[in-house]
Every structure is written in C-alpha cells, then in structure tokens.
Amino acid sequence: MRSRLRVLRAEHNLTQADLGARIGVSRQAINAVETGKFDPSLELAYRLARVFDMPIETLFDLTEFD
C-alpha cells in the first residue's frame, strides 16, 4: 500500500518523531508506513488522516487492486 505520508509530513514541516509523538507511535513505525514496509491498522490510519485533516483514501492508495 502506497501513501502520501512523506510528502504531507514534509509540507507540514514535521519530523517522523514529531508525527509519531502526536499519534502515539514510534518513529520507526512512521518510517515503516512511509516506506510501505508496514501497513497501519485502521485506527492508526484514521489518526494519521486526522492529523492532516483529510480522508483516509486520500492519504493511502491500495494500488494492487486497481
């Protein structure tokens, strides 16, 4: 699953550690989501989308089912 997380985080001038602290996960978790090595839970996806004030489907892209 691809995400726009890295771009959005840069636009909001947030580090991985900053973003992780805001939603209660480790910096490594944010890095793993950004690189597509770890798929976040639905709850975590909602928390991430809420930080950037956008729908989940705008933040994540399930390309393999396109």
């Binding site: 992780g20 602290a21 480790s26 976040p40």
Partner: protein, 141 residues
C-alpha cells in the same frame, strides 16, 4: 496517546538480558548448591520481575512493535521449541550410540528438569530475539 507510549529502543533487549542472567542464577541454585527453598524463591522472584515488567511495558508498546513481537514469538519461539526438543532427542540418541551413559545426567531429577527447561527457554528466547531484531531491521530500516 502521548509520547510516553513510544517504545524506548534497547530497553526490551536489556530487560531480556537481565532476565536471562537472573534465570541462569536461579538454575545454578536449582542444581543443588543451595537449599531448595532458596532456589524456589529465586525462580519466584524472576517470575515476579517478568510479570511486573510485562505489565509496566504493556502500555508503552505501539502497534508496530506489537507486530514485531507477535511475529518473532510465533516463528522464533516455535523454532526454538522445535530445535530444543530435536536437540534433546538427537543428543540422547547420539550419546547412546557413542556408548555414553546419559542416564547419569538425569539421575538427579531437579538437575535434569532445570537442564531441560534451560535448553528450551534459552533456545526459544535466543531465536525470538534474533527474529525480533531481524524484523525490526527489515521493517524500520
């Protein structure tokens, strides 16, 4: 959620190292060098420390680390269990084939039990830590 729940890197490894040392000391007691009441107390202490540590750490582990622990315990723990049992059977058969009287190692039931537990838990814990480290290295970069 707050930043207090973020995993502090390395703390779990130090915890397991400390537990391993404590368990080794408990097993040394169990081999008969101290009275059984002391060895029993040592094992109870290790169990208590492990339980308290698990409760204390439980609320600080995020879903990424939880996924790592689940994966590592499933595969590393299972592999350690299978390897421990396999090694025990193989050692017994190989010893018999070489004419070694392995029964003398099990004549002391407490010592035999402690040795078997040490072998199984040691292998499970060791392979769990290896798989955990590999998972985190692959996923977190």
């Amino acid at each position: 959620m707050t930043s207090r729940r973020r995993l502090r890197d390395g703390r779990d490894y130090l915890l397991y190292l400390g537990l391993g040392v404590a368990m080794g000391a408990a097993l040394a007691f169990a081999t008969g060098r101290v009275p059984p009441v002391v060895s029993g107390g040592a094992v109870a202490l290790v169990t208590l420390i492990a339980g308290v540590a698990a409760c204390w750490r439980g609320g600080r582990v995020d879903e990424f680390d939880l996924a790592a622990v689940k994966f590592a315990w499933l595969w590393g723990g299972f592999a350690g269990l299978a390897l421990g049992l396999g090694l025990a059977v193989w050692g017994w058969q190989a010893g018999g084939g070489l004419g070694l009287d392995l029964a003398r190692f099990t004549s002391n039931e407490t010592r035999a039990f402690a040795g078997g537990i040490a072998l199984l838990i040691g292998l499970q814990l060791g392979l769990y830590l290896i798989v955990l480290a590999l998972w985190r290295r692959r996923a977190a970069g």
